[in-house]
Amino acid sequence: MGLQAYLILAAVVFGIGLFGVVTRRNTIGILLGIELMLNAVNINLVAFARFSGSEVGMVFTVFAICITVAEAAMGLAIVILLFRVRRTVMADHLDLLKG
């Protein structure tokens, strides 16, 4: 399959992930959507790296995965803290920034 197919696949997964981020009410659900988006990006990177003959993209992917892990840990820690403070994980209820 050509590069195009992989890129389109990544785009589709990215779109689905974005949909999840925007629509989910549960904070953890939002985080899952973010994970999907990051995943799609990784597919993109690896595909480009493979079809261009350079391994830099893959190194980049390794780094991206590691950073994602760190980010997920942080995000979930914040969710737990938020739950402790506000007794809710519904994103709807977190509207302190309301204008």
Partner: protein, 627 residues
């Protein structure tokens, strides 16, 4: 000294007196010393004016100083212009001003010193303004002095400003003449735009040399006439003059008989070469003049206030002068101006003596005064005969000249009106004479004032009597001179039209006057004709005349309605448009702000959504505009 310099001295003497009195407050507040100072200025002025007139050798003298600079030549100059017209007019103004100031010493002797000082300050200022107008070498200085004269008239009419009628009359005079002055200013500026100069000499050369374009000149002359209409009390701007009688009688004698009201006539005579180019405007002037004369004469017949009779008489005579100007013979009008100045001032001062003696203006309170005030009676009758136009008295030849010029100008309608007016003039003036000086004194009938007044009914003291006699003798002198020799006073300026009166004119005019006198005698002296039945014969006219033909009411209604309508319009615009715009803007801002605020939900998810939409738009734009 040459005439120019003398006229300059005559002009500067009163303004020096004014400045001193205005600045040096103690002198002014002292009263009589201030009065003497002002009279001193008036004397110097009179002497210089007479010297200038007699010494005038036919050479027109101008002394001007540059005033408003402009590129090339100055925009305006100030100074004096001495020619035949201005020197003789100057003498009239200086003479009457001087006599009135002397007269006022005694007439206003009961006034508090500060009031007296204020009065003489205004008198000096007025004398200066009027002389500045007379001697003006260009239209700009003329207009400035014109306005100054109007100001002084306001100040002097409203001299007893604590009286509400006097204050109102002063304001009315000011506003009515101001309406005319607007026209004058517009006319002057338009003329400058057309001709490029304000200077009278240059304009005259252009007019007679056919260098002025005729298109639009009628509007200019009409606008200038509007100014004369206001100052010289032509219909419909005549309404201020009768009310102006609220001022002291010497003021009426000076301003509303001899000088200020004649400024309009003087202006038209000065610019007669301009008006000669627009005969249609002249026709209007003649008709309005004749109509004013008739209107005022009718109104004078029904007045019971002696000063009002004289006021309407002045309006009527001004109409005469305007009619002559309209016929194209402005010299006749000017000649009548001079003689009228003499005898009308005399009449006013005489009336002042009567009022001072009786304590009231009302004719019904007077009667049989000839016995107790013989000298006053004599001078008053001299004045009345002059006004009626009887030979040997001052008004005879000048009135004849006017009638003759109106006839020679081919204006039959105005001529007939003026003949009728001559009849009425004689009638109403002699009505006054018979009612006031002859007949019996009014019944005391328990009026507690009459005994008090009986003590006053004698000839006035010397400061009042002397001017009366001077004016009376001058009237006689001018009358005799003009009857036998001719209008020597007024040398015809070059190029002025001449006319010969038809032979039947003099007998007709004199006859009409005598008829009027006879009617008055029969009605008021011999009581052959009942005054009441005579009045009822003219029932509706008399009724309308008593209401001043509702002209005043009409003005008031229109002005009040107009001002109210305009101000409510302005108020509406202010509330709904000016404020409305602001209010709408503010309401929109607030509403928009409230609605936009709902975007800020505070939820991060919605902001991500916003981000995503923005990104989408950016991509769309990148895809379709950058490719």
């Amino acid at each position: 000294m040459d005439s120019g310099l003398l006229t300059l001295v005559a002009l500067l003497a009163p303004v020096a007196a004014f400045l001193v009195l205005a600045i040096v407050a103690p002198l002014r507040r002292a009263g009589r010393p201030g009065a003497y100072f002002s009279i001193l200025g008036a004397t110097v002025s009179l002497g210089a004016a007479v010297a200038a007139w007699r010494g005038y050798d036919g050479a027109i003298t101008r002394m001007v100083w540059d005033w408003l600079p402009s590129e090339g030549r100055p925009l305006a100059t100030i100074g004096v212009l001495a020619d035949e017209t201005s020197t003789v007019m100057l003498v009239l103004v200086a003479l009457v001003a001087f006599l009135v100031q002397v007269y006022s010493l005694s007439y206003l002797s009961d006034e508090p010193p500060q009031g007296l000082g204020r009065y003489y300050t205004y008198q000096s200022l007025f004398a200066f303004s009027m002389m500045g107008l007379v001697l003006a070498p260009n239209l700009l200085q003329l207009f400035i002095c014109w306005e100054l004269v109007g100001l002084c008239s306001y100040l002097l009419i409203g001299y007893w400003y604590q009286k509400p009628e006097a204050a109102r009359a002063a304001v009315k005079a000011f506003w009515t003449t101001k309406a005319g002055d607007v026209g004058l200013l517009i006319g002057i500026v338009m003329l400058w735009k057309l001709a490029g100069t304000f200077d009278l000499g240059e304009l005259r050369a252009m007019a007679t040399g056919n260098e002025l374009p005729l298109a639009g000149l009628s509007i200019i002359t009409f606008c200038i006439y509007l100014g004369a209409m206001g100052k010289s009390a032509q219909f419909p701007l005549h309404v201020w003059l009768p009310d102006a009688m609220e001022g002291p009688t010497p003021v009426s004698a000076l301003i509303h008989a001899a000088t200020m009201v004649t400024a309009g006539v003087y202006l038209l005579h000065r610019t007669s070469w301009l008006f000669a180019l627009t005969p249609d405007v002249l026709l209007i002037i003649a008709w309005i003049g004749a109509f004013t004369a008739l209107l005022a004469a009718v109104l004078a017949c029904v007045q019971d206030d002696i000063k009002r009779v004289l006021a309407y008489s002045t309006v009527s005579q001004l109409g005469y002068m305007m009619a002559a100007i309209g016929a194209g013979f402005s010299t006749a009008g000017f000649f009548h101006l001079l003689t009228h100045g003499l005898f009308k001032a005399l009449l006013f001062l005489g009336a002042g003596a009567v009022i001072h003696a009786v304590g009231s203006n009302d004719l019904s309170r007077m009667g049989g005064l000839a016995r107790r005030m013989p000298q006053t009676a004599i001078v008053f009758i001299i004045g009345t005969l002059s006004l009626a136009g009887i030979p040997l008295f001052a008004g005879f030849l000048s009135k004849e000249e006017i009638l003759g010029s109106v006839w020679a100008g081919g204006l039959v309608g105005p001529f007939l009106l003026l003949m009728l007016v001559a009849f009425l003039t004689a009638f109403y003036m002699f009505r006054v004479v018979f009612l006031a000086f002859f007949g019996t004194a009014p019944a005391a009938a328990g009026h507690h004032e009459s005994a008090h007044h009986g003590a006053h009914e004698h000839d006035p003291p010397m400061p009042m009597l002397l001017p009366l006699w001077i004016l009376a003798l001058l009237s006689l002198a001018v009358g005799v001179y003009s009857t036998f020799i001719g209008p020597g006073l007024v040398a015809l300026p070059e190029g002025a039209a001449e006319h010969t009166a038809p032979g039947w004119l003099t007998p007709a005019a004199v006859g009409v006057a005598i008829a009027g006198i006879t009617l008055a005698w029969l009605t008021y002296q011999r009581r052959t004709i009942n005054a009441a039945s005579l009045a009822s014969m003219f029932g509706p006219i008399r009724h309308a005349a008593l209401a001043k033909f509702w002209i005043d009411d009409l003005f008031e209604r229109v002005l009040a309605a107009g001002t109210l309508a305009f101000s409510s319009l302005v108020g509406w615009v202010d509330r709904y448009i000016v404020d409305g715009v602001l209010n709408v803007v503010s309401v929109w801002t607030v509403t928009t702000g409230d609605e936009m605020r709902t975007i800020q939900t505070g939820r991060a998810q919605d902001y991500v959504y916003g981000l995503a939409v923005g990104l989408l738009l950016l991509l769309v734009w990148a895809r379709w505009s950058l490719t």
